[in-house]
Symmetry: C2
């Protein structure tokens, strides 16, 4: 359900440095993320998906606010914030990490960037980790400074994004490896670029470090991308669900732990790594989880749009879980979903029924990701 | 500027337990606050204002999430979170407080409720104080539990709200004093009620403690209020700016300190009270602030709606501040605003010019609140 609503752009919610550019380039609808507007509709979400997987799209993701952590104890402090072992994270490297609280609950799932020996950025999903990190620091006894810098990311995603990057930055950028970053300039605009994204496609993020030059940067990239079919766009729910990527608050929240999501690889309980939530996660791992995230293929007619509520999942007359994100994939010609179910019902192939609000639909537990370009590449 | 936009209701942003009821009762537009939808338009914001000041309105403010702080050290911990002296806060009493970080910056301006000797609720403005408080607790050495309870407030505001409360809860509720709370039940629905709000009018907040009964509670109140002219509504920007009340992120943020807002009464630097930010606020007080919040009367034709950007304020050719919230008051027949200006330009009567986007408007610094019912009553 997408409803036409009057949406007042007040000052209580921030505008991105790309706001006027996205409106000029056809943004039709916005959502709010980290107290900021994000364009989420350029008129046709399915066309946006095809633009993403066939060519390239430029997305305003300035809502991915950065938490800048610096100081002599920055590395030690940063490790206390995440269960992932950071001892091998090099300067110039990025990692996908979870931020957990003392109960092992997930507070955010950002990209961590190590810009300098003692400078980290957390590129956030939708929660105020600035406040969490500042709060943890208060009584930590560690010498760190934590602030939100003037940084506004764009995502340039899709198979042609590499060519657009080459047009912007020259051949030298082509050796930027997956999950590595580099400081660059474009017409004197200070940027960090990383080979990361939220699309499971080849893609880059460009972190503008001067919000007064957002409009100029947007136009510069769109001009360079024109010969390569670059379109203005937005993060694609279709593609990210195909890729099994999480949307924080929908697929995970403070009550979710990493083991329920099958993200064991992001938790290091061994060795000297100490972090907030370690004791709780040790207990949870030992006891085993009671629910698990699964993929779900929902049968029947194509869903008209994403689910707007958490749909109850039924099996043998009992509710055994909920659909957290569902959408129709026009490429797979299937309704695909992420769901959280009781562990006894998590085996691939388990038959269930989903109360979609448009009636009960049959469904089956399926493997994630639903679409994996690496498998496709390997098969090719 | 209010734009018609497609607004997708996804699961990434939460719905209130009153969501369906507000749509049924005519909600036309929503905003997002604390990761949750809030109705902000029932078709005519000016009519909503008249409904509020002449009769009564019922507003879904479930976005005011609660932080529940309990445990043997709850009182001690709570005092570390705010510069306001809590030593005289009785069980059953509420206070308007600021939450400050180590730099003295404002993180939130909630209502604090003391429900039990060792149970506090922070009824939040728009930021994740749940994460801040949990973060502070990590290394605090204090024995506290911090969580978000199943609590969803409504605001019942306006001169007739007392009569509606009497109809719901009987004569006994009439002795509930300003900024006090009480636990009550309504048809078995567990509630806390307090004489608080965000309207500068007589008003109450009703904190539903069972989200499955939101629809029932809404209908029960609307039915009881019908003879008293109760209307569905939303928090009124007109009334809150008349009253000089803050909207967090618009009029204050993490870079704002209490002295800039003239909220010295909420900071206690004396005696044994110790809190996060005390040293910074001592320094700021000693040095004096460089900018100050003021009221502003903007001349010329009535503004078409609230400001959607921070309007620069000019004096003698220099930018000396910004308008943070502006609106036309149909009662005062004036354009009124809250603004942050350099201290040298904060004197009442100072003439300035405001770049509204619809051109430069003359304006003058004015006293806040713009409208004070107590003064009106005293004059009557």
């Amino acid at each position: 359900m997408t409803q036409a609503q009057n949406f007042g752009f007040g000052t209580q919610i921030r505008k991105s440095p790309y706001f006027e550019a996205t409106v000029r380039w056809g943004a039709k609808g916005f959502s709010v993320y980290n107290h900021m507007y994000i364009p989420r509709d350029f008129g046709d979400p399915e066309q946006n998906f095809w633009n993403l997987i066939n060519d390239a799209i430029l997305c305003d993701v300035a809502v991915e606010r950065q938490v800048d952590i610096t100081g002599p104890d920055a590395a030690r402090f940063m490790q206390t914030l995440t269960p992932r072992d950071l001892s091998k994270l090099a300067v110039g490297q990025c990692k996908y990490v979870l931020i957990t609280n003392a109960d092992g609950g997930i507070l955010n799932d950002p990209i961590l960037l190590r810009l300098e020996e003692n400078r980290y950025w957390l590129s956030l999903a939708d929660s105020d980790i600035l406040l969490w990190a500042q709060g943890v620091a208060v009584h930590s006894g560690l010498d760190v400074t934590i602030r939100e810098p003037d940084v506004s990311p764009l995502q340039l995603q899709g198979p042609k994004s590499g060519e657009v990057m080459r047009a912007l930055f020259g051949d030298g950028i082509m050796d930027l490896k997956y999950y590595w970053l580099r400081r660059v300039e474009l017409d004197g605009i200070p940027l960090v670029v990383s080979r990361t994204g939220w699309s499971s496609e080849l893609g880059y993020e460009l972190y503008l470090q001067d919000s007064s030059r957002g409009d100029e940067l947007w136009e510069r990239i769109m001009a360079a991308g024109k010969p390569h079919g670059l379109k203005p766009g937005h993060t694609s729910s279709i593609r990210r669900i195909e890729g099994g990527m999480l949307s924080y608050h929908a697929d995970a929240d403070i009550t979710t732990n990493p083991y329920e999501l099958g993200l064991d690889r992001l938790v290091n309980l061994d060795g000297g790594v100490d972090f907030i939530g370690k004791a709780a996660l040790q207990r949870i791992k030992a006891a085993g989880v009671s629910r698990k995230q699964v993929g779900l293929v929902i049968e029947g007619a194509p869903l008209g749009g994403p689910n707007t509520t958490f749909w109850p999942i039924h099996r043998d007359g009992a509710v055994i879980g909920k659909v957290t994100s569902a959408i129709h994939s026009p490429r797979l010609k299937q309704n695909i979903a992420l769901a959280m179910v009781a562990v006894d019902h998590a085996a691939i192939g388990t038959r269930v029924r989903v109360a979609t609000g448009q009636g009960m639909f049959d469904a089956a537990v399926a493997d994630r990701p639903f679409y994996d370009p690496k498998k496709t590449l390997a098969a090719a």
